[in-house]
Amino acid sequence: MTTTLAAATARRDGTAGAGGSTPPAPAPRSRRRGPRGSQWAAIGFAAPLLAYLAFFYAFPLWRNIELSVHDYTIRAFVQGEADFVGLQNYAQIFGSPLFGQALANTAFFTLVSIAVQFSIGLALAVFFRGAFRLSGFLRALFLVPWLLPLIVSASTWAWMLNSENGIVNSLIRAFGGTQINWLTSPETALLAVTIANIWLGIPFNLVILYSGLQNIPEEVYEAASLDGAGPWRQFWSITFPLLRPVSAITLLLGLVYTLKVVDVIWIMTTGGPGTTTTTLAIWSYREAFGTGQPDFSPAAAVGNLLIVIALVFGLLYLQLQRRQENR
């Protein structure tokens, strides 16, 4: 799961690093004074960064690709002679009956999570923009989900949604409803883990969008209200368009974070019942660590697929950004 993020970061850092290590060609004038020296110095300064990138980004990524094109059984892992199988692991992944389900689950989990997180986060950010008494305190309270260890919040959600003894079902029963088997019914399990993940993601959206709002000058709003624009009109004509760059990066980061979510789902349902909450990330984790028989190669193949998906959306974002700058 860190690989996905690592890849995204590596991509961005990589371009920055490359730019830093090859400075614009020195003018001929400076060549006489020993340009080689300064060039060496530049390389010397860049070397720790380059080595760091190579060790912690390029090598793991390369290793992940290598894993996915070999057949790493336990025996091969220990004795170091895995057969090269080309794209066979990928063929196996795409041909698996689980692939369609995992992809659909990932799409549902990610898109619903992001859409709702973003909407609620934005609504709260706008709400807190009008500074009122205790607003700082309340805003801090909304950060709690972010501060709690994931295992705590996910376990708490699992207890709350427990079929027999959970507080949510107690409430439903108190109002005359019937028990909903949130985590143990194939109809509701995916929704239940998505709800928990939405709760976890709201603070992130709130914080970034709130700081984005600080950059919108107050005069614009004043001018708008002089022109007779109500709060609703102000939101759609000022806040929303001016917040677009911040929104785009929030959505992209949210997507990358949500794609690689393993812990919440694993703690709440282990991808079950059956495979009804198995996303691509959960599938990869289960293949590698969830059974008594580690299957690293298909797990790496699924992991690489996730990296590609994140990369596609990253490129889409860059494209959008470039178009906006050119405008």
Partner: protein
Amino acid sequence: MKRIHQSAIAVAAGIAAVGLLASCAGAGAGSGGGNEGDAASGAYTWWDPYPQHEEGSDWANRVEACGDEAGVTIERTAYDTTALTNQALLAGQEGNSPDVILLDNPAVSTLADAGIVSTVDELGLDVSGIDANLLAAGEVDGETYGVPIGANTLALYYNQDVLDAAGVDPTSITDWASLTAALEAITASGSQGITFSGIGTEEGSFQFLPWFWGAGAELTELDSPEAVAALELWKGWLDDGLAPNTVINNSQNTAWEEFLTGGFGFVENGTWQVNAAAEADFPAGVIEIPAEDGGVAPAPTGGEFIIAPVQSDEGRYDVTRQIIECMTTPEGFVETANTFAYYVPPTAEGQEALLEEHADLDTWVSAVQAAKGRTSDNLGTDYPIISEQLWTAVQNGLSGVSTPQAALEEAQANAEADLG
């Protein structure tokens, strides 16, 4: 001149930083085993999955004593159970395995398959006294890769108060029909019938196996009528409200905690809860899990094997054998049993000695005698693949994704595809 000097320093600093990174990585790879000592004397390394037994505890002292007896010192490292298997694999990959590992029994065949465990013949160990059903978990293709140091298994704990209130006599439960009748009586009296663990991990398969085997099903045929009958038994309990819906997500610990609330008649759980059952707020008893048509169902065995990873220096095996023999004497087995809250010894002699001390453990001793290793029947490394499909089928069947029949048919098809 000064500028060149500066840039030289920068280059040197950069190279030094890179070198530091490299040396860090090198140090990381090198640590782990560290048993390049002399063959006959010096330190022998020992890994076990009991971090709860710290240095100075009875267990640590016993390990140390066995080293003293063999004339060497033992360096003991304790890992978490799953971490231990991974560590053992990594150490095997780097060629610096410890001399002795205490390993969870289903993992033995995995490591044996990787070729990093020596056989009992290579070590010169005599395993003829060990119960065959327990030893089988460490057998792959006719070779034996270690000695069980004790075994635990599953049985049904009951809450005496709840059973009394429902008028159920635990000794009357001899087959599935009488068990289901008892659960109905308990539910009618206002308590809940039974809880167990059907979680989507190895624990779920572990808990389902007594019913699966108790119906006469085999792991090589997950969709046999017997297997379907076992899953339909569980599914029927859920549908009729005899078991709570939470079992689909229950770990064995959660199931136990549900039982401790006092609201349940039965719980399926293991030998490791004997002490906790004695301390419960209500009188608790235990019966063996019944087979479909009467008699005792074979439950899966839990417990560790003591194994000796392959060493490049074969001279070390002699001392390793002495250490293992020291741990596996009848008295040694009983001591191990007491240390771990009732690990049943794997030999007839050891079991007798244990029963002399704790006569109330007879249910567990006979449950272990009837038990079966998950990797037995030469399944070895096929077991984890089959098990994953089995627990998925249990989850699909219980939650209503598909019928028990369809769920098990899908499991069998997937297992066949995965095993190629």
